[in-house]
Structures are given as structure tokens and as C-alpha cells.
Amino acid sequence: MTRITPQQDNKDRIGSVLVVGSGIGGMQAALDLANSGLMVHMINDEPSIGGTMSRLDKTFPTGDCAMCMISPRMVESSRHPNIKMHTMCRVLRVSGEEGNFTATLEQKARYVDPERCTGCGACEPECPVKVANFFNQGLDKRKAIYSLFPQAVPNTRSIDSVNCLYLTKNVCRKCEKACDAKAINFEDRDKLVEVKVGSIVLTPGLKTYQPEIRQELGYGKYKNIVTSLQFERLLSASGPCSGTVARPSDGGHPKRLAWVQCVGSRNAHNANPWCSSVCCMYAAKQSIIAKEHDKEVQSTVFYMELRAFGKDFDKYIDKAKRDAGVIYKRAMISEIIEDPKTGNLLIHSVGEDGKTVHEEFDMVILSIGFEPRSDAAEFSKIFAIDTDTYGFAKTSKLRPVETSRPGVYVAGTYQGPKDIPETVIQGSGAAAEAMALLGDRRGTEVTKVILPDERDITGEEPRVGVIVCHCGTNIAGTVDVKRVAAAALTQPGVAHAETIIYACAPDGQQKIRDLIKEKGLNRVVVASCTPRTHSPLFQDTIREVGLNKFLFELADIREQCSWCHMHDNENATRKAIEIVNMMVAKTKRLLPVTSASVGVTHDALIIGGGIAGMTAALSLVDQGYGVHLIERSAALGGLLTKVRANLEGDDVQAFLADTIKKVENNPAITVHLAATVDKVDGFVGNFVTTLTNKETISHGAILIAAGGAEYSPDEYGYRDSDKIITQRELETLLAEKGPDNQKTYVMIQCVGSREEPNNYCSRICCQDALKNSIAIKEKAPNAQVVVIYRDMRSYGLKEEYYSKARDLGVLFFLYTPDDKPQVEPMGDKVRVTLTSKVLGREMAIDADHVILSTGLRPQPDGDEFAKKFKLTCNIDGFLMEAHVKLRPVDFPSEGYFLAGLAHAPKNLEETVSQALAAAGRTGALLSHDSLTVSGVISKHNRDICMSCLACVKKCPFGAPFIDTDGRVSHNEVKCTGCGICAGVCPAKAYQVNYFRDDQLLAMIDSVTEMH
């Protein structure tokens, strides 16, 4: 039975949420919350949303441009009817309690009216003030009236009151004169705003370490030493040197690049004791991209420990070494000095042989780490939450997104250093917690827009209206807009054409609505800026007067014409005429598109009864949905049943037992033990799954938490001696018998991991080794503990335990995979021999116990499992998510979500975060009574289809299928409208709405007409 019965009590909960911070984590939380029917107030203190990710050039492993990925999220956040964006805003105080908070916000004066500003930028050249551009890390200058970055959202300038001449010295006002849109408002003042919310999500983000204090590294003293964030800007095509990588001292292109790792991290002296988690990977990325920019670049990375602990990270490092020829040197850098003649930099390091090496580089990049924001202490007081000793928000490792104050959740780097996908995961996870708290208030704070009925245009001749926008002087300064309008009027089907100064301004929109009514227009072309940002706005405008949204096209004559062909007015005007006529040709043929909708079964099916599946199940029932939990073994618990404690010392078994009890006692969770899925039918919102025990279940979404397996080693004689055990077995031994002061424990890391054929890091083994080492040394300080390792990967705040283990006297010896330690049982001891890098000769340790740090594996039948659900695995056999960075818990197929070890190795805290995230994403989907299928989809004509299966093979979403009659049918619910089917179909049986063949051919015919 389908169910939406959120928890109810007599408290007066408010169905809105305050999201503090608008980086990638804040946007993720806001979008998930808004999609579930809650109202969101999303605030940030900068003039644009986007956060740290907007400053990055590209992201690994795909090399995608960060802006291309984040920009659609920013536009979506700004246009979402349930999200109210407050930029240049901060929280002053918060009162109330869980479910009912009142937050007082301080809205800083922007001095530019966002309602009027068109983002044209005519003001900027007029401003006489130049100040260091904070966004580009001080590498270039900006004006006092500025946009944070070219793709800023909201796309409006702001005036920096500290540097503006009028606001400081009462002179100038040049921007005001340059602004035709009359958007400059010097009367603007800071305002206080009060918002009432049921919950708060904190995603304030981070600050980067300022390396000036480390004088020996020369930053701030020598020009050619830059921080890694500055280097991102140098690499960026939209950065200060348009991506050509120019040396600050002389603008030359540096060939010899060096990265110095751990600057500001892993060092308690003038720096931070934690590991920043991301620097190893971004250094690899930057070195690869630098090589892509310039083939002659030779990169060297000086590192202490290579922490490539995430999914596919080790392979990426291998790629850097192999394809980009990056040299990795394990060395701590004590000094960098400049050759004053050349500006080149000399690095002194100690080589593996113990000798000092002097090397010269053209440029040095300091891999600076993360720290809490400078205002973190004040911030925690405003929200009255506890922080850890470093100033990060304090959370339990078992409840990683809950702060100490009920109803206030945290996500991203404010909870500890982490990368983009982990931040996104916590964003969705924090949203899930707020959704569980406010489940019964969904839809209460949001307003539904009521629109007039659509006008039926069947049988009408096309009457196209063409609006050519001046965009102030942005278009009209280069393109003769009157000529463009006149040329459009000569086109068949055009009933009216005119120019408007600003089509997107409120008065421009009204003009368009009036024209549709007055001139009886049934289709509209606006010639202005890009459809990517402005189509939705104009589509809404015409819909408000009863025209179907898809009877509209936007001709891009700004970004793709006037801005690229400045000072070439004649050719730009001709091109604009061609573009507009091309769009008229298409628009004449546009047809109304109706969006179908399908009902949603408000239940989720969760596969896997481990901690991931159970955590997700509990979150979903708290949000108000029903859950079917499938577990193939006879009991709940999964791999966690074998773990006693985590690194931080929480009692894992008590937590697990409590979770199992909650799941078993919850009437909304149906547990199916000793069962697996036989087959899945249906599509998003309406799946029907048959289990192996013949039960059938109807559900709206599938959450896969199928888990992983522990590796049982063949290496180092594990099977031959009971003195050679795994970390898990040691954990049991220590719990049952305790450590022995007289004994020697030798641990060997990376057993069965980071080597072909399992060339990935299992992520948890270093933590296991530290946990057990500390457990031994704390109880038996005289026991000898030796860890033989390749890289200790105690990332993030776990670094604290690495240093604690060293303080307790645990010895760490390095080995390399080509020179592994030898293990040989000798009487009642086991002799371990290894080549000591430090001593330069062989050493032997007689151990009482040799402990193998074995990793994690995918489920042995993972491939078969993936095939059943039409999912794909990476080369190591872990399931592949929809997008490594921004969709870490989604699958490409709609309605499928992912959490836990099935995705990649991870620890308990990370598993819980991911399970919550998957529950949040699932919940946002299940909250809908119906799902509207996008209008731009492929339409299949069975009458002319030959069932050749070209579409079935090529569709990435599995929309076309072989129907019961043996012929091809098309499931429009799964269709995303990419049109690959239409491209490959030899019979032309597919037509994509809004991109029909006749429409595109008409465009081609139009553009070839004038020649």
C-alpha cells in the first residue's frame, strides 16, 4: 500500500528551511528540499552564489570544466519557485527551536537593483576604481562596480561600498550615467529581514590557508610562487590570463612546474594539524591540465604521503605519472629561494638516498589546505552549535550531518575537509534530515501559480511576433536592431516585428504580453541573449497570456553575435538577420507541446539490509514514505556486524543493534529476509518488482545499498599460520583477550589493494590499523607496534589519530610494492624482513602477530546484479553513479539511487552520510503526487517503425524497448529528449518535440538562402 503519512505531533512546525551558504553543498541541499515541497531561503554573503567550486578550472577525473557543471545548478537554484535566494546576506541571530526558528538576516546594500539590471556590464568600463580581484585570487584587478565572475547568478552587478568613489568620497556616479536600465541605486541601504523556518542547514564552506606565515616557502616574497587556488585561476579560460598560464613575474609560459604538498596542513606549527583531503588529487589534476595546455611542461610534485583514497583516485595518479609524465618525489621542502635574475625558483630537498638535491623551477605552486572560515567562531555562536577544537562543526561520526542543536544540520567542509562529491552527498543528507523533521509540512509554505487555460491554436496560420532587444547598447551598439526587425518583417509568417530596449525587464515582458493580445500572435521569437538562461523567463511570459510555452524561440544575437563581432557592425548586423530569420523559420513550424504526467507510488524499495540500507529506510519512513527492505541473508546488519568500534571510539555494535531494532519495530518498513530481486518492471514512480520468493512489490523508487565484501587474503602466508591474521581478527582478539605488553604486533598495509588486478585504495584499512595500534598502545604501552605502509591515508581529521599513534610510540616503516616485506613463520614467532628506506639496509622484526590490512571488494556476484538492473560497474566492479562529482548517489536511470559499499569503499561515517543522501534524493522524488514528463522528448511513430532496434541499442536511458508484440515501443517517461534515437533511426520514426526534423531543416534552408 502506498503511503504518505509523515510524523505528526502538536508542535507548530514551519515548512521552510534556511540554507546558509550557496556553494555546491548548499545548492544541493536547497534543490532537494525545494523539490520535496519545502520552501527554502538560501543565503550567502557574496554577490553571487557558487562558492569555492565556481573558482575551480576543471575537475578530475573527467576534466570537465567546473563552471560548466556548476552553472546549470546555479541557474536552477535561482529559477526554482520554492527557493528564495538572498545574496550579500548573513544571519545575525537565530531564536526558537527545532521546527520553529526565527532568523534575522542582514541584507547588505547592493546599490544595483537586480530587478532592473540586465547584466549588460556597460557600467564597468566607466568605473574609474581598480581594486584587486578577490575572485581571481588577487591576480588581476576588478572595478568597484563588478560581477563576481562572468557567469554570476544573479546576473547583476553590485557596488563595493568600500572602494566606490561616490560612496566613500561623494564624487563620480559614472556608472549611473552609463546605465540605460536605470538600475543603479545609491540610496540602497542595508536591511534587516526576518524569516521563519522549521530547520536550518549550514553550508558556509571554507577558507584556504594563507601561506605567507611560512616565510621559508617564499610566498608573497617571490612572484612566481603561487597558491594552488591562484593556479586554478591561471589555468581557467575565464581567468586572469585566459588560461594561457602566464608567470606573474614576466608573463612567460612556465615549463618547469613544482607543486609543494601539505602547505598549511598536517603541521601544528603555524599551520593546521589536519589533512585537507583534497590537495593530493587537485595537484595531480593541475599537473595533467598544465600538460594539456602546454606539451613542454614538466611537473614535479613534492609530497609527504600520497592520499589518493577515493573511488578511482589511484588510477588518476597513475595517469598523471604515465600520461603527463609527472614526477612524484617524497620529500619535505624546507626552503624555496629565488634566483633574482631569472625569477626562477630553487628547491632544496632530500632525495630517497638521503642526499640533498637542488632543483630549479620556473614556477612553484603551494598546495594550500582548507580551514574553517575566519568567522567560524562567531558563526557557531550565532547558531548556538558546538564546534570541535579546530572550529569545525561538531557532529557524531554515527550522525554525521547533525549538529549539537536539534533542527540544525551541517554539510560540506564546515564539518571537516572534504571534496566535491562528499560535500554534495552531505548536502543531500542534511536535506534528508530536514525533510524528516518537516515531512508533514510539505507544500504549506510554497505558493502555487495559477495560469490561464492554454489557447488552442489548431488550424491557425502562423502569426509570429519578433521582438528584437537592444540590451541597452550591448546589442544595439553593434547590431542595427531596427534593420534586423525590418528584415524579419519580410519573412513569411511574421505578423509583427519591433525592437525593445530591454526585453527581459518587467516593462519589456509586459510589452510582449500586450503584443500577443493586440496583434493576435500565436508564436514569438525574441532576439536577445542566450536561451540557456533566458528561455524559461520568456516561456513563462507567453504562458501567462495563454500561449503554450513551446511556441517560443530565442535568437541569441548577443553572446553569439554582438559580443563576438564588436566593431564589425555591418557583418554583425547581417549575421543577426540570418540568426533571427533562421529562428523565424523554425518558430513558424513550432507546435504546442503538452507534458504528460504519471502517478507516483510513494514507497521505496531498498536492496541491502546493511547499515546503508537501514539508515536510508529509517530516514525515508521519517520523511513519510513506506519502505520495502530486501536482504538476501537471513539477518539484518551486513558487514558492520564484524566491526566493534570506529577510529573515533564509538560503540559500533550498540549503534547497529539499535538501528536493527528501530527498523524491525517500524510498521512502515517491511523487511524481506532471505530474498533477492528476480526482476524489475516499470519506470520511475511506478516500478513493480518480483522477488525470488514470488512476492511482488509496487514502488516509486529503488535504492541500491547492496554492500561489498571483505577481502580474504592469500598473501603473506595468511592461510598457513594462525599468527598471521587480519585487522578484523585482531579487533576481536583485542576485544576478547586484550593486548599483551610483552608482544610485538606488525601490521602490513595495502594487502590486496592498490595493485593490479585490484588497483584501488580500500580507504578503511589505514583507519583500521591506526584504531588497533592505538588500542594496543593505550592498554599495553610496552607492546611493540610496527606498521609497514605505502602511504598512511589518514585523511581529513583522521590525521589526529596518525599523530596520536606516533606519539604513543607506534613505529611506521615504508615499503614500496616492488619491494614487499617478507613474512616467514619461525617457531612461535613470525619473522618480517623489509628493506628500510631510512637505514638503507634490510631489517628484521620477530613478531608475535602479523596483521594484514585487507581491503574491501565489490560483491562477488556484482556484475550479474548490475546487469539485472541495467547498471554499469567501473573496472573494479563498483557501481557507477550518474556523475562522479555532482550526482554521487543517483544512477543515470531515473528513480534509481545508490549508497554504501556498492558504490566504493568507505567508512561508517561516510556510509551513513551517503545513505542519508540517497534517502533525501529518493524522498524528494517520492514527495510528488505525479511526475511531469519533460515536454522536450522523442515521439515514436509505430506506424513507420521497422523495429530494427537501432534506438534500443543506442538509447543511454533504456527508453525504447521490445514490446510484448515483439515490436519496438518507446517509454516516454524514461526519455530525456536527447534525440540520439532520432539520429540513428533509418525510418525517421522518431521526432523530438521542439527539435523536429522539419524545424531544423527549415533553419538550415534559411541560413543557406542568402548565399
Binding site: 560548466c68 557567469q151 540557456r532 557583418n571 532520432a982 531544423l1000 538550415i1004 541560413v1007 543557406t1008 548565399h1011
Partner: protein
């Protein structure tokens, strides 16, 4: 017959070769994916990068939508170049 003994003749075009007029400019259609190449074309504008004005962009929902018929039709009607980007 051995291949090298075979006389291979270049097929002759029925059209006579013509001199390219000095003011001639190629007419080019670019088919661009909405999500990447079209966005890149927008960014070029935002950054005020300049390129010849004889390129007109046709937006597709995905480069996978590009049909050979479009390319053929464009050449048939005398286009000088087709640029597919995505």
C-alpha cells in the same frame, strides 16, 4: 591483376574549377549540443572573444541528435562547411 598494375584514375568532377573571389567568405553552420558546445559559444561572447561572423550556430538537444540528413541538406544547398561540436 595485381593492384599496382591497375591504372587508377582520379574521378573528374563535372564542375569546372573556379577561382576563389577575393572577398569570398565561407558560410559555415555549427551544430552544437545545448549543454556543452552551445554553452561554450555563449562563454566566448561573455569573454568578448572575437571570431569570424560567418558561423551560425544551430542548437541541438545533444550532438547525438545530429542527423546525416541535416549535413547533406546543408551541403546540397551550398553551405561551405559544417562544424559539429558537442
Amino acid at each position: 591483376m595485381a593492384i599496382d598494375a591497375e591504372k587508377i584514375e582520379e574521378p573528374k568532377s563535372p564542375e569546372k574549377p573556379q577561382d576563389v573571389p577575393a572577398d569570398w567568405k565561407a558560410n559555415i553552420i555549427a551544430f552544437a549540443c545545448h549543454y556543452c558546445a552551445f554553452a561554450a559559444a555563449d562563454l566566448a561572447g561573455v569573454m568578448r572573444l572575437s571570431y569570424p561572423s560567418n558561423v551560425k550556430v544551430i542548437r541541438l538537444p545533444c550532438t547525438g541528435k545530429l542527423d546525416h540528413v541535416y549535413i547533406l541538406r546543408a551541403f546540397e544547398r551550398g553551405i561551405d562547411g559544417v562544424f559539429a561540436a558537442g
